[in-house]
Amino acid sequence: MITRTSDAARLGSDDADADEKAKLLPQLVAHLHKHRTELREEWSNRITESRLLTAMTPQEITSETISVYDNYVEVLETGNVEALQRYARDLSERIIPRGVETHEVVGIVLLLRDVLARSLFEKYQDNFALLGRVLDAYEPAANRIANTVAVSFVDERERVIRQQQEAIRELSTPVLQVRERLLILPIIGVLDNQRATQLTEQLLHGIRTHRAKVVVIDITGVADVDEPVANHLVKTVDASRLMGATVIITGLSSEIAQTLVTVGVDLSKMYTIGDLQGGIEEAEKLLGFKVTRSAEH
């Protein structure tokens, strides 16, 4: 931002300078177009040397570097970063699942910046003043490109992470309807305070939406619970009752049973049954379902 403001200030103060700059940039772009193949190859080699993008094959690196190079030069030419932004986001989407890291992406863009700058040094080495002005035109644009690519990559990665977090949150407490008015909630893993709260919320809303009358909470997959969580479970059972649903808890491990007894949680209102099968059978009985085996078996 600072670079751009100072650019603008300079442009305003000196029209001749601005004119020259407007001419310099096309010159620079023409130079990059002309030496496209060798510069791109040089860049590819630098990438391999620096051991970046090791997750990708050489062919992939070649095709991606061609696209990035062309986009890069286009941004220098037009000053419009939108296409590059789109490309960077698209590229990130493709390479993030392959385990490409942020430092690699930033690294390759900075390498390209250096390769191009080096070629400019070479071209204008005889005229130091001109080189200075060329770099004045090149550097802000190049920095902006590096910035755009890095930000696009990080944005994309954050989006993926957010999406995954959302999925984990939703999957961690599924509320499933197995029969009309019968829900089951299988819980697997650690039942901490936050997850217990989420469980209550999903259960109570599930009762409402499915018009459930009996709910089986299966905690076979839970290794242990502490006192606050046990108390929370009791409250959940009470709240479900207020909404007209009976809760059956199944699959209490011997450790959990011991814990509950030791910490003195009020179990008088808990309706517990040994395993999930027993819980579902009991629930079916409560709801008046009768499951029979058909004759041919």
């Binding site: 919320e201 109570l204 009358k213 709240a239 207020l242 909404m243 649903a245 009976t246 009985k285």
Partner: protein, 133 residues
């Protein structure tokens, strides 16, 4: 209109449409108990689906109302408690030892069975052991 008390056969359906203050709650309580005698009702349904908050006084009033109704010969069932309200009630440690059901339909079915004696309490999902039963 804050509440409505309608007659449906042998039952009264009392709907609370908006949050009531303490005084209004007491008046509501009195009204319902009076109407039970007037209509010779056998059951009362209190629909609280419109309430998204309930304080301790509110839940105590509902409980008192249920107990008073029983003394007048009518069973009470509270229906439509919202998920958040349900959890708030237990979170605050308020006991609401009354019959509850999911919604009006369930409540009516429950009372129907209860008053015709056609109800296996243990088999009914929403049953609670009410003191004195």
């Amino acid at each position: 209109m804050l509440v409505s008390i309608q007659r449906q056969g042998n039952f009264l359906i009392a709907s609370i449409h908006t949050a009531l203050d303490d005084e209004e709650l007491l008046r509501f309580q009195k009204d319902v108990v009076a109407q039970i005698g007037k209509h010779r009702s056998r059951g009362v349904i209190i629909d609280v689906a419109a309430l998204d908050v309930m304080d301790s006084f509110g839940s105590r009033s509902l409980r008192d109302l249920a107990h008073a109704s029983r003394l007048r010969g009518a069973e009470t069932v509270i229906v439509g408690i919202q998920p958040d309200v349900a959890f708030a009630i237990v979170q605050l440690g308020m006991s609401l030892d009354v019959h509850t059901a999911l919604d009006l339909e369930e409540g009516l079915e429950f009372l129907e069975r209860l008053t015709t004696g056609n109800l296996d309490l243990e088999r009914w999902g929403c049953v609670v052991r009410v003191p004195g039963r």
